[in-house]
Amino acid sequence: MEVKGGKGSPRVDLTPMVDLGFLLITFFMFTTTMSKPKTMEIQMPFKEDNMKEDEKSKVKESTAMTILLSKDHRIYYYYGIGSDATKPPELKVTSFKDQDGIRDAIIAKKKEVQGLISAGQLSADDKLTIMVKPAENSTTDDLINVLDEMTINAVPIYAVVDITPVDLEFISATEKANGIQ
């Protein structure tokens, strides 16, 4: 074996080690950032069992929009609060689409409220208020999606509330009219 003169220490090729080092750095960098999940904060309406009627917040009919979540990711919506069963609001059916979906309906209502404010029919304090009422056959996906639409469209006030029997009747009437099983 050929032995070279012992001048200094022998050179070791460090490239593979450094390669491996950087590979590991990349791996750990990615896993650290990924391990922190993203969340969506929601604020439910404050509810007290023995709340008096006049303590509950009131919503004006003209600023309100109600969104009903139903089965198969279908959405029914109407403008107003629909408290009057004798004068049923006009229910429209839509879904989570980028075009002509619930987003466009929200934007349209938002413009309408803006228009009413500038026309002086509503005061500047009035804001678009959306009530989300999920039916029993909707899923968590629907709820998160619709709440996300609130953020996407910068809806000032929105709340998730229990669906009422009146609303369920609206849905079944509309389903029957459209021949949906």
Binding site: L14, M17, V18, G21, F22, L24, I25, F28, M29, T31, T32, S35, K36, P37, K38, T39, M40, E41, I42, Q43, M44, P45, F46, K47, L69, D98, R103, P134, A135, E136, N137, S138, T139, T140, D141, D142, L143, I144, N145, L147, D148, T151, I152, N153, A154, V160
Partner: protein, 204 residues
Amino acid sequence: MTAMCDVAFLLLTFFMLATKFKPQEPVVIRTPASTSTMPIPNDYMLLSLSKDGRVFFSIDNLNVREELITEISQSKGLNLSPAQIKAFKEGGSIGVPFNKLGSYLALTPAQRNEYDKTAPGIPTDTTASYETNELSYWIKTSRYANPKLRIAIKADGDAKYPEIQKVIATLGHEKVFRFNFITDGKAVPPGTALATEIAAGKKE
């Protein structure tokens, strides 16, 4: 070269120590997607809701876990042994009623993972009375151990609304009205109000 190597390995050490690996999950949960980019709060309890409506509970702070299980063991008369308490402290999510907690914690970690696939979940009955709602008791007791605990819900997108409503109603009963849903990322649709806000630098 040497200097770069030094820096590289320093970074490597840092990331290795800083990385926290995901805890074992009892069931597979497909979280819904949202455009929100808010990171999860630091101290939180995690309520997982599986597709079939089973609820699992977990906290990642080990000290709170120990305090919590000691308290529950006493107040519910479970008489857990130190080994069972240790098993809870080092374990993951819990998805069994109180009366099965002792036998569940006596299992080995591998057996527990197997059991979790068919675990009944924490009872979250909101119709009868909150006496039998054990999720309410878990939340109450852990917030007593650490009042700053935030609540994160990891719900499966396919879980029916009444299931998630039970969890939300239980939180409402505990006077918790603000909580976080864990969601997957989604791109912000262009041309919307949110996209404009982000472009204007108002929101991240």
